[in-house]
Structures are given as structure tokens and as C-alpha cells.
């Protein structure tokens, strides 16, 4: 097959490309330039679009002996990921930009271009197991469950998955590093990237402030409706947040307060104690069924509601507007805008049944 390997400059995508080469594919490496103003050097472990990252990717491709190009996706990334990220926060939701990037950039914009240019698949260094049985994609958790990224891939459609390749799904991260070392890839000991690549200093609030400005509103007690304080924008809050609420007076009962909901139209941030934080019912929209099989009936499964969170038992059911999920036990910090991913526990790795974007919780 002709395989386009997306190479970020990190160890995972370098080894993924190496494995695609070793499997006998005709591999071309591509580094996506996603930032209109890339920094020159990394500071710390963050970032994935500096000039240094681009150079690291190029060096890895040199060692693998594959052609390598840098493709400019900065405009498309800005539109589909960054602006959507800002817009979601402004609307009181908590987006997952890595998921958006997989869905809209790596496996839409890049895949489209790759297919147009005659490639058969896009390979990435994601940790997830993907097999296609009789044309049906099966997306599972990776062997290294600590590194598993099936959650952020769960919004890919069957057609996208049919042209995806995740060569690291059966490996432990430690094996990947050792393999990089054996292959003399200089990125073997490069630290993992964390956080959001387009916010290199990790200060999401400052980033959002700089784009949205001040949008003052009130901190409101969810039960009494009393105004407890003011804030500079709902985008500074996430459901389940406890720290940094900026309320001077303690609650009458002395218990900590949490963000319970965000109301961008009125500007209200509703707060209350932990009793109100638990969620048992989730409504979610835009469902994606990676194996092309919508749930036929109410289905027992495990639900995960954030990238590195635990799962809980759940019953999920297809509705007119998407999916409704009833959790067997309450979960805290279920934020609209995040995705709920439904898994079926299996020995060879939990199978992704579907995903959808959380729109309402109770």
C-alpha cells in the first residue's frame, strides 16, 4: 500500500512510520505545519508545531530513508480546531481539541489530500488497535491501556477508519521507546507531549481571554439563585471545577462549591455543593458508529466521558436526537462539549461501540 505517515516529530509517530516501512508499504512522511507562527524551539515538553519538531520529524524520515515533506495546514487547523475550540468555550461547553484535530485535520483534510494524491492510508502514532474484518472497522483500546488513545479516535467514521493505520496499538510505550533507540531515531528519549499544542504555555484561560475578551457575568448559587460574585467570562470555567471560583464568602454549610453549569446567554455560572455534581443521565448528539452499527436496542456498555478518565457501567440507547446514556453510578464533572465514548469490554481490548458529543446532563 501507499501509506502517508503523519510525523509530528515525536517518538510515537516516528516508530509508527518505521513499522509501516518494515511492513513493506511504500511510505512517505509528512509533517503538518499547524501554526501560522511557529516558535523556533520547544520549551519543556509542550508543543508539536515548532521548527524543532519539524526538524526532528525530518531527521527521523532521513533515517528511515523515506521522502518527507512539510504540508501547511495552518489555515484549516485554525478554522476547524482553534476557532471551534474558542467558540465552544464561549458557548459554555468544554471541547476536546485533539479529538477535533483527528476528526477534521488528520483524518479529513490530510486523508482527503492523501487519497487525492494516490495514497491508500494515513498512518499515525496513536495508541489504539484497529482491524478491519469483512470491511467493518473494529477500533479497540491499545494494549498499553495507560497510553490508550481510542477515546480521541472514537469520533472517526467507518470510512475514515478504513484508511487509517495505527501501528503502535499492540505495543507498550516502553517498547516503542526501546525500538526507537534500536533504530537510532534521535527522538527516542523525547518527552511526551501534553496539553494543547496551540497553547504552548498551558494557560487556557489566558488564551481564551485574549480571544474572547471580558464577558462579565455572575456566580450564582444554583439552589437559592443568590449572586455570590462576579466573573470575567463563562469560558474561564468547566463543569466540576472547584478551584479558582473567586467567591469570597464560604458556603453557609461550610462545604466546598463546584461549578454545576454554565449559561453563556445570561452569563451565569451556577455553583453548588458536591451533591449536585453527580450525573446519571447524559444526552449526546452527533453519534458516530465506528463499526457502522448503531446500537440496535438499549445496550449495556461502559461509558467514558473524558480523555483520561475512568469508565462506568451504562445503558445506552439511540434516540431521535442522538444517544441517551444512563450511568449505573453517578459521575462528576460531566461537561457538555466533551464526548461520551461507549465501550464493550472484550479480552482483546475494549471495543469502541460509538461516540457522541454530550449536550445535556441530569
Amino acid at each position: 500500500m501507499r501509506v502517508l505517515a503523519a510525523m509530528s516529530g515525536g517518538v510515537d509517530s516516528a516508530v509508527a512510520a518505521a513499522r509501516a516501512v518494515e511492513a513493506g508499504h511504500d511510505v512517505t512522511g509528512v509533517h503538518l505545519a499547524l501554526s501560522a507562527k511557529p516558535g523556533t524551539l520547544r520549551t519543556g515538553a509542550r508543543g508539536c508545531c515548532t521548527v524543532e519538531d519539524s526538524r526532528d520529524a525530518r531527521r527521523a524520515a532521513d533515517i528511515l530513508g523515506i521522502p518527507f515533506y512539510v504540508w501547511d495546514f495552518a489555515e484549516r487547523f485554525t478554522e476547524e480546531v482553534v476557532e471551534s475550540f474558542v467558540g465552544e468555550y464561549a458557548a459554555g461547553r468544554t471541547p476536546n481539541p485533539c479529538m477535533t484535530c483527528n476528526e477534521k485535520i488528520k483524518f479529513e483534510a490530510l486523508l482527503e489530500k492523501a487519497m487525492g494524491l494516490g495514497f491508500d492510508a494515513v498512518a499515525t502514532g496513536h495508541y489504539a488497535r484497529l482491524s478491519v474484518v469483512d470491511g467493518t472497522p473494529l477500533l479497540r483500546r491499545s494494549r498499553d491501556t495507560g497510553k490508550d488513545q481510542s477515546y480521541v479516535l472514537a469520533s472517526l467514521t467507518p470510512e475514515q477508519l478504513r484508511h487509517a493505520m495505527f501501528p503502535l496499538g499492540d505495543s507498550w510505550k516502553s517498547e516503542v521507546r526501546a525500538e526507537a533507540d534500536e533504530r537510532d531515531l534521535a527522538v527516542a528519549q523525547k518527552p511526551d507531549s501534553h496539553d494543547i499544542c496551540f497553547i504552548p504555555d498551558g494557560d487556557t484561560k489566558k488564551f481564551l481571554d485574549s480571544r474572547l475578551g471580558e464577558r462579565p457575568g455572575n456566580l450564582v448559587d444554583a439552589e437559592s439563585g443568590a449572586v455570590l460574585g462576579e466573573h470575567t467570562g463563562v469560558h474561564g470555567f468547566t463543569v466540576g471545577q472547584r478551584k479558582g471560583l473567586g467567591i469570597d464568602a464560604p458556603a453557609p454549610d461550610g462545604r466546598p462549591r463546584y461549578v454545576l453549569s454554565l449559561e453563556p446567554v445570561s452569563g451565569d455560572v451556577k455553583v453548588g455543593n458536591a451533591d449536585h455534581l453527580g450525573v446519571t443521565d447524559i444526552d449526546a448528539t452527533r453519534p458516530i458508529w465506528p463499526s457502522e452499527q448503531p446500537l440496535p436496542a438499549p445496550t449495556e456498555c461502559r461509558a467514558q466521558i473524558r480523555a483520561h478518565g475512568d469508565t462506568v457501567g451504562a445503558t445506552a440507547e439511540v434516540t431521535e436526537s442522538g444517544v441517551s446514556v444512563r450511568l449505573a453510578e453517578p459521575m462528576e464533572g460531566v461537561a457538555p462539549g466533551q464526548s461520551v465514548v461507549l465501550y464493550s469490554p472484550e479480552d482483546e481490548g475494549d471495543l469502541v461501540l460509538g461516540s457522541a458529543v454530550i449536550s445535556a446532563t441530569r
Binding site: A33, V51, S54, R76, E79, E83, A109, K113, L117
Partner: protein
Amino acid sequence: MTYLDHAATTPMRPEAVAVMSEALTRSGNASSLHTSGRRARRAVEESREGIAAALGARPSEVLFTAGGTESDNLAVKGIFWARRAADPKRRRILASAVEHHAVLDAVEWLVEHEGAEVTWLEVDAHGRVLPEVLERAIVAAPDEVALATVMWANNEVGTVNPVADLAAVTASHGVPLHTDAVQAIETLPVDFGTSGAAALTMTGHKIGGPYGIGVLVLARDVECTPVLHGGGQEREVRSGTLDTPAVLGLASAVREAVDARADHVGELARLRDELITGVRDAVPDAVLNGDPDEPTADGPGRLAGNAHFTFPGCEGDSLLMLLDAQGIECSTGSACTAGVAEPSHVLLAMGAEPTAARGSLRFSLGHDSTPADVQALTAAIGPAVRRARSAGLTGLRKNPVDPVTTTPTEV
């Protein structure tokens, strides 16, 4: 291999390789006073004389540097500093909007750090600076102009500027003109003395000479403050031990390029015209950027080896990859640090849309190009363009931003 990127770099001429290889076996610092030093000095000075003769300059006007970027920086910064030191009012730089980054970024650095002011000289639709544009920019405040800088020929679209006419304008106001002639030496009759320019940049590796060495031709009466400080080897304007083997290789390449020029240029232009015709036949809606190079009394309007196209509906990097996979090497424009092909400032200055600028490729022929190179390209370009069109403009916004009402979020 089909090499169509001579504007990026050229294969070294065998004679230059031989001269340089031989010189690498000898040692001697051209500044030393003993026998081996004198031997090196003699080789350097003979090379200097040869280069001066080939470029219509005096030997003392030839300063060796580490290449085009250094020569451009030295000319722009050095002449700016010296002119301002002589009269603090002179802070304005007149620079064409289509200069190479070695000039553009030096100018911008002076603006940011040295209190310089810049007037960007607009170009016409072919990328040419017209003398009246320069005249207007000077007469606005002639006493405040430190220097003007306009390239002899553009590295992207190949448009040739009327350097002598531009120099006549600057001279009438007592303003020095620097010209970056890196792309011009091989095919244009570059004569420093008759051009009227105060300073001229050239480099070795664009004419079949070695990398890492170039020349700033600096007229004797033009003051230039050094950028590099040290032993003052080159007229107290440039310091650093001379690279004698590279100087010899450069002199050989310059001599050969200039000697062969008259015979070579007609053939090169014919080959280039075949390339243009072949590409247009294969891709009827391809747009040739730059001067159409109709014959005129003033000499060629376009570099004989340059063909620069926009392929509507394609991304240049898609085409580059597809051609590279078939062994055909070309360029999307000038390379940049991160390896990203950004919309060319040259095409934008010529009035192109950013989308069109992204879909452009430069093919540049040189001293070793053959009809087979042109045939390989004209056979491959049609299918490559069809394929690139099916890949589309995926890096761009799906919903273009209205520049009037909305500001895109910058990352």
C-alpha cells in the same frame, strides 16, 4: 534525475571542482607574510582580478564574503549605518517589495532595531520596479534617504529590473543603490561599472561555483560600516580569514559562466520557451507569472532559465511531491525555515491572490540542462496537475474569512 531547480543551487562546474580540489591540498593563510601565505595571497588576488574583470569592476571593489545572504546584509546594514553616521537625517531605506529575504529581513531588522524607516517600492504586475516609482519615493524627501535596494533579477519569477535606469535615478539624488544580482550573473550582461550601482551582491553556488562564498562588489567611494569585526582582511569592511580554495573555485566558475554566457543564453532561453510551451500544452489553464519576455531593445525582461507557473486548483506542495516521486526536482518558491511553502511575497506583491500563490511552481534551468529535462517535465506535468487537483486545496479554510468584517484567529 531531472533537475529543474537551478535558482536554488547549481551543480558545480567540473573545472571549478578541479581547481578547488587542487587548492584544498595546499595550505597557506592569505594574510601570512611567509612563502605559503604569499602563495595563497597571490592566488586570491589573481582570482579577485579575474572576478573584477568578469563583472566590470575594479579589483579593489571585490570583497569576498560567505555568500549572498552575507553580502546583502553587509550592503544594506553597512551602507545604512555609514550614511546615517554622515547625516543623521538619512534613515529611510527604499526597497522593492519583491526582494529576497536576505534583503527584506535585513531591512526589517534595521527598522525594528536601528530606527530605520522603509518605503517599499511597489512593483508592476510582472514584478518589476519602474524608475518613476523609485523617483517618486526619493523626491518625497531626498535628504532622508540612506540607500535604495532593488534586485537585478527576481529569484522567483525571473523578472529583470532596469538596473541602469534605476541607478541613474538614485545617482541624480546622490543616493547609493544596492542590487542583489545573485540570479543575474549567469545569463545577463552584468557590468558593475556601467550599471551605476554602488554595491552588488553575487554568490558562487548559483553559477556553478562553490557554496559558502560570495562577493559584495562595493564601489570605492561608498562608505560601508562592517557587520563582522576582526582582522579587517577585506578592505577593513569584512573580516575573516579568506577561504582560498573557495575563492579559486568561485573565480573559475565566474570566468566560465561569463565567458560562456553569450553562447549559452540563447540556447537556454529556447529550452525555457520549449518548457513553457510544453507545460501550456499539457495544462492549458496554467498561468505563466512574470515577464512574457518579448524581445525588446533593452534586453531580456526575464531570466533565460526561469519559468514560473500558477496551476489553478492545485497546491504547490502536492505538485512538488508528485513530480519529486518521478525524479523531477523543482520548487514552490523560496524555501523557509520550517519547510512550509508560504504564499510567496513576490506573487502577492504582483497582485496575485493568496490561493493562486499557493498553487505555484518554479522551474529553473541552468548550465547543465538538456532537452531531455524539458521533455521529462512536459510528459509528467499534465497527470501530476490532474492528480493534485483531485487532492484539492485541503490546507485552506473551508469557509474563507471576510477580511473586512472578521479577523481570523491567529495561533
